[in-house]
């Protein structure tokens, strides 16, 4: 019942109501009909018995016998019994044979004579008791006809109530359906759209107004966030461009002493970091304001991985970090190449940065369901368990060692970039043995609906037991 659409439910309810109404109607009709017929029969019986008494009026008191021809015409063919007040029989209709009227008090009542039900009228006058029995077969016949007619009407009532209920519900719900469709069309792309306001001042109009108000507020905050991102980008990037141009124009100047060159280069590098930080903040602002869109295409992720592994090797060479990889020669995933490279570079850079001296980085690629899972693990100091749930938050870091470079946005940006491609970045485990992150991406051929956007703030699932590392030595 819970899964039925509202219109079907309403149709069923209307059917139940129709059957109930019909039942009540039938009972009332049957009762009234019976009462009506009985009262007609009763009047006739009363009339006939009065006529009989009237016809016998001229007889002397205490007659000994009454013959059929003494009775009025209206009494012919009707069971009649005439007795004295004492009960001595004076006349019986031959058709009565040996059947007797039950000797109830001398009031009108119904009785059974044989199988038929009769109405018996008793009238007393001048020592004569007249009993007239009129059959009540009419009642049975009428009631039977009523029953037959009702049963015949039942399928029509059923059909009419079901279809009618469905139709009425459909009509009543049409504006609701229209609102649902219109509301579904309003996405981050066109938040300025509003639901059409119905002309009738009814509940639907109220609902539409409430929804439109909600969309209004949503649009305002969305636009605010977007405007902030856009304004901030302009405000921050313009001075950065000027700073950069100034530093570069100085650097281009020949006759610069090497120390001056070094200072200017440091400044240039700092503007690059500021730009990259600005870019990261804007990306997160955009992500908060309704998501960053990416069109992941079928991409071979292996060359991207190889490039990033090469970088990790270079970055980790001073610390003696070894890289073990287990990768196929090629593997197509649904990915945006630039963003995927940024994510992997971030994961690998972290794997170098947080690794111990002479540690190992393992990179592996596996298929899991309709996803490809790229795992990057390092043998660094584990992330404290109390920090794990916040590891993807802005400016959150695995440790409080502020001496390490990086602005702490890397993982949250990586995650947003992954979500934008209908993937995700997760922390799989972090223990004495290894700290392991995974990047999930869609597989080509999987339908969009199979790759739903993983909602933000989903806690990363952690297996109870560490999985055995399946990495091969580097270079194999």
């Amino acid at each position: 019942m819970r899964t039925l659409p509202l219109s079907a439910k309403i149709a069923l309810w209307s059917f139940a109501l129709a059957i109930m109404t019909m039942g009540i109607g039938y009972s009332i009709t049957a009762y009234v009909l019976r009462q009506e017929i009985v009262s007609v029969v009763q009047q006739r019986a009363e009339r006939i018995s009065k006529e009989i008494l009237g016809a016998l009026d001229h007889l002397p008191p205490n007659p000994t016998a009454i013959t059929k021809d003494m009775l009025p015409k209206s009494a012919s063919g009707i069971p009649v019994e005439i007795t004295t007040a004492g009960g001595e029989s004076l006349y019986r209709t031959p058709a009565l044979k040996n059947k007797t009227f039950s000797d109830r008090p001398a009031t009108p009542h119904e009785t059974m004579v044989g199988k038929l039900s009769y109405y018996v009228e008793t009238q007393e006058q001048r020592g004569l008791k007249v009993r007239v029995a009129l059959p009540l077969t009419q009642v049975d016949t009428s009631l039977r006809r009523l029953k037959v007619a009702s049963l015949a009407a039942l399928p029509f009532v059923t059909l009419l109530s079901l279809l009618g209920g469905y139709w009425v519900a459909g009509r009543a719900l049409r504006p609701v359906r229209r609102i649902t469709e219109a509301a579904a069309r309003i996405t981050a792309e066109d938040l300025h759209q509003r639901l059409p306001l119905p002309a009738a001042r009814d509940e639907i109009r109220k609902l539409t107004n409430v929804l439109n108000d909600a969309f209004e507020r949503l649009e305002r905050s969305y636009l605010q966030a977007m405007r902030f991102a856009s304004d901030a980008s302009h405000q921050l990037k313009t001075p950065l461009t000027v700073m950069r141009a100034a530093i570069e124009s100085l650097l281009a100047d020949a006759g610069l002493r090497p120390e001056q060159g070094t200072v200017l280069n440091d400044l240039l590098e700092q503007t690059r970091r500021l730009s990259s930080l600005t870019e990261g903040l804007l990306l997160l602002a955009r992500a908060d304001a309704g998501g960053i869109q990416a069109q992941p295409d079928e991409t071979d992720v292996i060359p991207i991985l190889e490039r990033c592994i090469e970088d990790a090797e270079v970055l980790g060479s001073n610390a003696g970090i070894r890289i073990e990889k287990d990768l196929p020669n090629r593997f197509n995933a649904l990915a945006d190449p630039g963003r995927t490279e940024q994510i992997l570079l971030n994961l690998l850079e972290n794997a170098v940065k947080y690794n111990r001296q002479g540690g190992v980085i393992r990179v592996a690629l596996d298929e899991r369901g309709n996803k490809v899972v790229i795992t990057v693990s390092n043998t660094g100091v584990p992330i404290p368990p109390e920090r794990m749930p916040w590891i993807f938050d802005r400016f959150a870091r695995g440790d409080r060692d502020e001496s390490r470079a990086g602005h702490g946005l890397g993982l949250s940006i990586a995650r947003e970039l992954a979500i934008a491609q209908r993937g995700d970045v997760r922390l799989v485990r972090s223990d004495a043995e290894a700290t392991e992150f995974e990047l999930l991406l869609g597989l080509p051929g999987a339908k969009a609906s199979d790759n739903p956007l993983i909602p933000l703030l989903t806690p990363a699932p952690r297996p109870a037991h560490p999985r055995p590392a399946r990495a091969l030595p580097f270079g194999s």
Partner: protein, 225 residues
């Protein structure tokens, strides 16, 4: 080459003008969108450098108006909006290239050069510095006729050096060009790659092609006596 620069930030405009002038271009700088539109649609230019966030008229509007008038002058867009969506919108309206702020002046010059060259002769896929030859299409690199095997990153670094041969490039520029600012950490990686390239390209050769400019960066080319 005649370059029309439509940029409302006076300082940025002044640096861009300086850099383009030094590279031998004749620059007309306009700060207002409406005036920029008039200039772009009336005077002939070889390249238009267009800022998107302008007072008076939006850069995209100007771009649309220029293309509506069937003016095919190459347009390089400058913008603080680094979003892919904006980039696509710009390119869809007929922009030829796109540069996000903050940008390096050298990058800007390189892009302007590409746009002016694109209009004329076909760009050859061969880059040559002395006896070092790189084919941009096949990614094959040879030194003195012998093939040099490079990793993807080594190739990218060398490609950038060769594109800018004769000019000192900073570590920051290399970093930005190869890693698109994704490498948050440091530019030490650049030095390591340069070291590796030196081993593969210069070690066995008498003429060393990768020079260190102390305090600044690297330059590709034979050492001047």
């Amino acid at each position: 080459m005649k370059v029309l620069l439509i940029e409302d930030e006076a300082k940025i405009a002044s640096y861009v003008t300086k850099a383009l002038t030094r590279a031998g271009h004749i620059v007309t700088a306009i700060a207002d969108g409406q005036a920029g539109l008039i200039a772009a649609t009336t005077d002939p230019y070889d390249v238009i450098v267009l800022d998107l966030g302008l007072p008076g008229r939006d850069g995209l509007e100007i771009l649309g108006a220029v293309r509506d008038r069937s003016i095919s002058t190459p347009v390089l867009i400058l913008t603080a909006r680094g979003d892919v969506k904006d980039r696509i919108a710009g390119l869809n309206r007929g922009a030829d290239d796109y540069l996000a702020k903050p940008f390096s002046m050298e990058e800007l010059l390189a892009r302007v050069n590409v746009l002016t060259r694109r209009k004329g002769e076909d760009a050859s896929p061969i880059l040559r510095v002395s006896d070092l030859v790189m084919n941009e299409t096949t990614h094959i690199v040879t030194r003195d006729g012998k093939t040099v095997h490079l990793s993807q990153r080594e190739y990218e670094v060398l490609h950038f050096l060769m594109l800018n041969s004769g000019r000192t490039v900073t570590r920051t520029e290399i970093c930005e060009h190869v890693w698109k600012s994704a490498l948050a950490n440091d530019t030490n990686a650049v030095d390591v790659y340069i070291q590796r390239l030196r081993v593969k390209i210069d070690e066995d050769a008498a003429e060393k092609l990768i020079q260190t400019v102390r305090g600044t960066g690297y330059v590709m080319g034979a050492k001047k006596p």
